[in-house]
């Protein structure tokens, strides 16, 4: 890449100079993560064992990790999706409903579950994109509906996957190169998302919409279609998280993912994404999710009681926010 300053005597700048603010912005999330890992390693003997690490990764995969990718896409467009936890539950229940109760083969059942998640996302997305309704409210409505549907289809009872869903539970406990399958799936999703955001037209437009929607619209880009699509992606990924939850526990349950949307949003925001849209990245989102995962794990290992854990989670979110805020301050 050649850089160039045209006009007059201004010098040609060959390399972009080192920018302190930009550096901190890029690596502050990673910094927090490193500190946390060091603390955890020194504090407990069990943290830095392969078993425990894989355990953390598996929890992240089944919990916030995969959903955080969808949420990142939504937040980049300056929206929010509160329905992910509920769609996760619906995904988990439908897994059992389609495969056990309707006796559909998993080759059709799994895509059907994903399609159902997509449908939920599409409903939110269409209202937000084409009627310009606030995403906060629309996804809140979907949050109630999806949770309700998960109760309806399960009749409030867990559905045991049993023999019909054996392939799913095998996936949940299966390993490849000693790494749990759900972790592989999560890695795959993050890689695809990263490529999409950084190297494709789609990713570029998604980010630009969050930064100045009107300018993007007046560039002749079909903004509503892009906006609607991010909710579909979020819905599909939430349903995927639901399938993983079912695969790990062997049951489809409407009690999965209660309050998960908050953790998912926290992961994205800790990862440095701006709720004002336009700013955020996949790697930092992954680190954001890992930070939450390591925190939980550390507190469990250290025997911090459950109620206290919530307080500490709040603290870490606040600290991360403070760091990002100071970066913006330095920049100006």
């Amino acid at each position: 890449m050649s850089s160039k300053a045209t006009g007059g005597t201004s010098e040609v700048i060959e390399k972009r100079p080192f920018d302190k603010a930009e550096f901190i912005e890029k690596y502050s999330t990673f910094g927090i993560f490193l500190i946390l890992v060091v603390v955890a390693t020194l504090w407990t003997d069990t943290f830095l064992t392969e078993r425990n690490m894989l355990n953390v990764l598996r929890q992240v995969a089944a919990g916030t990790g995969i959903m955080a990718v969808g949420m990142l896409f939504v937040i980049l467009t300056r929206g929010i999706d509160l329905s992910v936890g509920s769609i996760q539950a619906l995904g988990s229940v439908l897994c059992g409903y389609y495969i056990v109760q309707l006796d559909i083969s998993i080759w059709f059942g799994i895509p059907l579950v994903l399609l159902s998640g997509a449908a939920c996302g599409a409903i939110t997305g269409l209202f937000v994109a084409y009627l310009s309704l606030p995403s906060f409210v629309m996804s809140l409505a979907m949050m109630a509906m999806a949770r309700g549907l998960s109760l309806v289809y399960s009749q409030g009872q867990p559905i045991v996957l049993g023999k019909a869903g054996a392939a799913i539970t095998e996936f949940g406990s299966g390993r490849f190169l000693n790494v749990p399958m759900p972790v592989w799936l999560m890695a795959f999703i993050f890689i695809v998302a990263g490529i999409t955001l950084n190297f494709t037209k789609y990713g570029r437009i998604i980010k630009a919409i969050g930064s100045n929607e009107e300018a993007v619209r007046l560039s002749g880009i079909n903004v509503p279609r892009y906006v609607a699509s991010v909710y579909v992606i979020s819905g599909v990924l939430a349903a995927t998280a639901g399938i993983i939850a079912a695969s790990r526990t062997g049951i489809g349950s409407s009690q999965v993912g209660v309050g998960a949307e908050l953790n998912v949003i926290a992961a994205v925001v800790i990862g440095g994404a701006s709720l004002m849209g336009g700013r955020g990245g996949v790697i930092n989102t992954l680190i954001g999710a890992l930070i939450l995962g390591v925190m939980t794990n550390l507190m469990n290992l250290a025997g911090v009681p459950g109620y206290h854990q919530q307080v500490w989670m709040g603290v870490i979110i606040a600290v991360a926010m403070l760091l990002h805020f100071s970066v913006t301050k330095i920049k100006n």
Partner: protein, 503 residues
């Protein structure tokens, strides 16, 4: 005469970009001091230092003989330095009155008093805007006036006008000049930044020219002329503002608009533009020109009437459809509608035609993008560190060039320019006129909206004049003159009084 403020040896760098390399500048009471220079010369940066918005790396600011140490804009304001920034800094959802008194609002707002006070400021300077109107709904020219009123409402010893007339029509610009003369008579020191040199010469007492962050010189206005100033700015003499038009064949009718109308803003407009033709759309601010453009572009809904492209009726539902059909619009509101300001120059430049830089799977071909955009930005003499830098790091005129680059890259069949040279320096203006001529010569149909009459006269084959939402007439080159244009623009009689705020 003693200076009110002296700036000595001011240096400022952004990363590796040296915006100011040791500039001296002073402002005396009761003078209008013009600050001139090419896009990116450092004018706005120097004024931001004066206004305490940014701090210089080196140099001193001397106010009343004492070195000032500003910690922020509030300190500068307290010593009587008021700024009208090049980029509007208004709260779009608030009313005009709230914006004028933003920062000075009492804890409990008495709406009646606030609106009355704001109304008085606007009246005193002869602006016809209601204090209760919502700023975001005003056209950009009136927003500019609110920004000016905001500074005028405060006690000032120095007022800096950073390109206030870039979006104003001739009449409003004249009114603004009267205001400057009033301020001068009151002993206020006025700094006036503008790329419209003829206007500058009407009012300025002294002129300072910057080039690449250095002072070229300060001269009394009466000792110089436009040609000398231009050669100081660009470092060479410029032959002609308006380049010779290449031989252009006027072809088939590309655009035809029939009875286009919406509400009270646009009342049944009919016209057509042919391939190879450059048609101007003149008139006062608020006469409905921008609305017509936005309807043709599908950005605003059409209430009545039809739009034909190459003889076929179009039913555009969005700008997306328009761009696909080959219609491009360069919007007048650069910051709100033209650029995604935090995004790189190259991303903005390719946004309207991403097909050219993506493969069939939607992957971006970064090297193609860099190559194409570097070529374009060179043509436009865009001054930037790197095309990967965000647009927000550019000077105002260079930001405008990014918007131009975007639509030149899109390469539609019908191109509508709404104030194409807003805030662009003389040299680049001439380049842009050349590029517009070239587009026409390549067989494109061009429609140019401009409040700068000379611009319309210089490049258009004919000029349509709008007033109060209707087409009032057409001018052909032999009849091109300010009087004729204004005569038509105000033909409906009430335009003089209501034209400005009847939007």
């Amino acid at each position: 005469m003693d200076a009110l403020v002296q700036l000595r040896g001011i240096k400022k760098s952004y990363g590796g970009v040296k915006a100011l390399r040791g500039v001296d500048f002073d402002i005396r009471p009761g003078e209008i001091h013009a600050l001139l220079g090419e896009n990116g010369a450092g004018k706005s940066t120097l004024m931001k230092v004066l206004g305490g918005d940014i701090s210089a790396n080196e140099g001193t600011i001397i106010v009343d003989g004492k070195t000032a140490n500003y910690r922020g804009p509030a300190d500068a304001k307290a010593s009587g330095i008021q700024m009208i920034h090049q980029e509007l800094a208004l709260a779009p959802d608030l009313s005009v009155a709230e914006n004028i008194y933003l920062g000075a609002l009492p804890t409990v707002i008495k709406w009646r008093d606030l609106n009355r006070a704001a109304g008085e400021v606007l009246d005193r300077f002869g602006f016809d805007i209601g204090p209760r109107e919502i700023v975001g709904k005003l056209p950009i020219a009136l927003q500019q006036i609110v920004e000016i009123a905001k500074a005028l409402s405060k006690k000032a010893r120095i007022i800096v006008f950073d390109e206030p007339t870039a979006v104003l029509s001739g009449k409003d610009a004249e009114r603004l000049h009267e205001i400057m003369l009033q301020l001068r008579a009151q002993g206020v020191g006025v700094v006036y930044i503008s790329h419209r040199l003829d206007e500058v010469f009407e009012v300025a007492d002294r002129m300072t020219v910057l080039k690449d962050g250095e002072t070229v010189g300060t001269i009394d206005a009466k000792d110089t002329d436009v040609a000398q100033i231009i050669s100081m700015m660009v470092g060479r003499r410029m032959s002609a503002m308006f380049p010779e038009k290449p031989e252009t064949e006027i072809g088939h009718e590309v655009l035809r608009v029939e009875n286009l109308g919406r509400g009270r803003k646009v009342l049944g407009v009919n016209f057509s533009v042919r391939a190879g033709e450059i048609v101007g759309l003149g008139g006062l601010v608020g006469s409905g020109r921008t609305e017509v453009a936005k309807m043709i572009f599908g950005a605003d809904p059409i209430e009545t009437g039809k739009v034909y492209l190459n003889g076929e009726e179009l039913r555009l539902k969005s700008p997306h459809d328009a761009v696909r059909a080959g219609i491009n619009l360069l919007p007048e509101d650069r910051k709100g509608e033209g650029v995604v300001i935090d995004f790189p120059i190259k991303v903005n430049s390719t946004m309207a035609m991403m097909g050219k830089i993506t493969n069939k799977f939607g992957f971006i071909r970064h090297s193609t993008e860099s190559r194409d955009i570097t070529e374009l930005t060179d043509q436009l003499t865009l001054k930037c560190g790197h095309i990967g830098d965000p647009v927000s790091t550019l000077s105002g005129g260079n930001q405008q060039k990014v918007v131009l680059a975007k639509w030149m890259f899109a390469g539609g069949e019908l191109i509508i320019f709404d104030e194409p040279t807003r805030g662009v320096d003389v040299g680049a203006k001439s380049e842009i006129y050349g590029l517009i001529n070239q587009m026409a010569a390549d067989g494109k149909a061009v429609l140019v909206i401009s409040s700068e009459h000379q611009e319309l006269f210089g490049i258009c084959d004919r000029i349509l004049v709008m007033g109060n939402g209707a087409l009032q007439g057409e001018l052909l080159p032999p009849d091109f003159s300010d009087e004729n244009l204004l005569h038509l623009a105000m033909a409906s009689g009430v335009a003089e009084q209501n034209g400005a705020n009847d939007v």
